[in-house]
């Protein structure tokens, strides 16, 4: 076991795997005075009521910008363990954002517009280059149009919401790959 030299980078890598593997709930590592523990669990007692982890693929999770529909699963099978997919989908934590990426999220609950007016070309498209002041979309909050900016130099990597769809507070809207 000589070669088990665990450095901080290794722990970082473990942490990264954990982030990528949403269904892994706990990792613990204990060696030679080192004690390392990561958990998604809100500790043991809580674990009982915490819902099963939800869809982790950004494509899956953000494909539904609509609010989280719970009812189907619960109604259909009250006796069966149901982990309503898509329920708490849209919060930031569930999309893995790399160091060189920036996630644009909804600053308020409202309606997403990809273009300045209906029928006009979208502000940005996937793959398009953006600058910090580039307007990437509009969130309408009670008739008030709020421009969202890219904030970084980079390129639009993914857009998670469809035009004119409602978005929750904090819902991921698009991913900017920084340059």
């Amino acid at each position: 076991m000589k070669d088990l030299d665990i450095g901080f980078d290794d722990l970082k890598r473990l942490t990264k795997w954990m982030r990528e593997s949403d269904d892994i709930r706990e990792i613990s590592l204990s060696y030679n005075g080192l004690d390392f523990f990561i958990s998604r669990n809100e500790n043991t007692q809580r674990a009982v009521t915490v819902e099963a982890p939800v869809a982790t693929e950004p494509s899956a999770s953000t494909a539904s910008p609509s609010p989280q529909k719970n009812k189907q699963e619960e109604k259909k099978a009250p006796e069966v363990a149901s982990a309503p997919a898509g329920k708490t989908v849209s919060s930031v934590a569930e999309i893995s954002v790399g160091d060189n990426e920036h996630l644009v999220t909804a600053p308020m609950v409202g309606t997403f517009y990809e273009a300045p007016k209906p029928g006009a070309p979208a502000f940005v498209k996937v793959g398009q280059k953006v600058e910090p002041r580039t307007i990437v979309c509009i969130i309408e909050v009670m008739k008030l149009m709020n421009n969202l900016e890219a904030k970084f130099n980079g390129r639009v990597k993914e857009i998670y919401v469809e035009d004119q769809q409602p978005v929750e507070f904090g819902q991921p809207i698009m991913l900017i790959e920084k340059e």
């Binding site: 915490v50 619960e74 708490t88 919060s91 409602p166």
Partner: protein, 452 residues
């Protein structure tokens, strides 16, 4: 079952959100919960048909954020908003915004909320509806002579309040006629010096009172009452235990009280569920109007348990434009119900709120038990909101049975990991005075004093 309303957004959290979700589900309408980031993993979010995050934890940015809520309602296309209690439930401007944006506000109109929210206006309406109000000046008195006249009519003890005062400043109790003129002169000149305004209110000073309120349902045309609730067991004006019927009222006075509440609601064409609050003077055995709450109240289940009427469902049906199906003669009061508010507070330490994580939760069960709570094992009580974590309501064939059942249920219940008021409730409801039914609003304070 409903005509206009196909979806209801519940602009609240915790147990009342859950309560309204359940009503929506039974009415077959879509329930849309909103939640702050702090409430993401809570039962209402899990049980609602749809759940929308509307902002960060602080309620100013979420549950009290009118813009965010209206925006969410518009973006997600809901038909109606139920405000629950607290938060935006009695904000006339919020009701107004709903109306302007074509969203049905489940409550009375902004106009009525405004009127009833104005104490002086509400008192005027009460007077005009022949609802007894606390004897005193109908408004400010500026003339010392007039003040003297009024005071002599009101009788003693009485209370003189500088109209510019507040928070206990510029108030004086006058015990007898002997000192009236002197007291009146002094307080008026003090008020002149302190506030530059010598005008005062005069009011009968009540020292031994109960708090009794009447639950109403009105559709704008017809109005029925569901009897009264007695909320006398309070600590620092916070209700702790509510019950129905009130142990202080006989049938005749109950009828008189409830009829007066119906008159008040009829006077303003009230339309929704609502509560008319009274003080009941233990000394002269009379009740006086204080205010009207234009929303559903925390303690509404107590009335549900003795009448069988689902107040929230009725409220939603009224908002949907339906006429009340229930007639007054259909409402029969049966048995006795008591509610204990379960707070995450430490009764041994001045009722200090103590948020934390519920490591183990076991709701009580059995015949006559209803636990309205969003608790679950593992639930983390956030520090941002009210310390009430549930309401335990017990029904019994009579008051004695309701008390023993409540005692049994409180003992059966398990809320581990935090301090709660459960054991304090056991002591409260089993005190000789509570059991006797003969107590007033300071009873809890004296019970606490005796304990220490």
């Amino acid at each position: 079952m409903l005509n206009k309303i196909k979806s209801v957004m519940i602009a609240n959290r915790g147990e009342i959100s859950l309560r309204i979700i359940r009503a929506c589900q039974e009415l077959g309408v879509e329930s849309v919960a909103i939640y702050s980031e702090a409430d993401k993993d809570t039962l209402p979010v899990k049980l609602a048909d749809t759940a929308i995050c509307i902002g960060p934890a602080p309620s100013q940015s979420s549950y009290q954020n009118q813009e965010a809520i209206i925006s969410a309602a518009l973006a997600f296309g809901v038909d109606a908003i139920h405000p629950g209690y607290g938060f935006l439930s009695e904000k006339a401007d919020f009701a107004q915004k709903c109306e302007e944006n074509g969203i049905i506000f489940i409550g009375p109109s902004a106009d009525i909320i405004g009127k009833m929210g104005d104490k002086i206006e509400a008192r005027k309406i009460a007077d005009s509806a022949s609802v007894p109000t606390i004897p005193g000046s109908d408004g400010v008195v500026t003339e010392p002579k007039r003040a003297l006249e009024i005071a002599e009519n009101v009788g003693f003890p009485l209370l003189i309040k500088a109209s510019a005062g507040g928070g206990g400043r510029g108030m004086r109790v006058v015990k007898s006629k002997d000192t009236l003129e002197k007291d009146l002169n002094e307080i008026m000149s003090e008020a002149e010096v302190a506030f530059g305004d010598s005008s005062v209110y005069i009011e009968k000073y009540l020292t031994d009172i109960r708090h009794i309120e009447v639950q109403l349902l009105a559709d704008g045309k017809n109005c029925v009452h569901l009897g009264e609730r007695d909320c006398t067991a309070q600590r620092r004006n916070q209700k702790l235990v509510e019950e129905a019927p009130s142990p202080a009222l006989g049938a005749a006075q109950r009828d008189e009280l409830c009829q007066s509440a119906v008159r008040l609601a009829q006077k303003v064409g009230y339309k929704s569920a609502g509560t008319v609050e009274y003080v009941f003077d233990n000394i002269d055995k009379k009740f006086y109007f204080i205010e009207m709450n234009t929303r559903v109240q925390v303690e509404h289940p107590v009335s549900e348990m003795i009448t069988g009427v689902d107040i929230i469902k009725e409220q939603i049906k009224i908002a949907d434009g339906q006429a009340l199906e229930i007639k007054q003669e259909d409402i029969v009061l049966s048995g006795h119900a008591i509610e204990c508010r379960l707070n995450a507070e430490d009764p041994e330490n001045g009722f200090m709120p103590c948020p934390g994580t519920i490591s183990n939760y076991r709701p009580p069960g059995g015949f006559g038990i209803r636990m309205d709570s969003h608790l679950e094992s593992g639930y983390k009580i956030p520090p941002y909101y009210d310390s009430m974590i549930g309401k335990l309501i017990c029904w019994g064939g009579d008051r004695d049975e309701a008390i023993v059942r409540m005692t049994r249920a409180l003992s059966e219940m398990k809320v581990e990991g935090i301090k709660t008021t459960a054991q304090f409730h056991v002591e409260l409801i089993n005190s000789e005075q509570f059991k006797s039914g003969d107590f007033n609003t300071v009873f809890v304070a004296s019970l606490l004093e005796k304990k220490n």
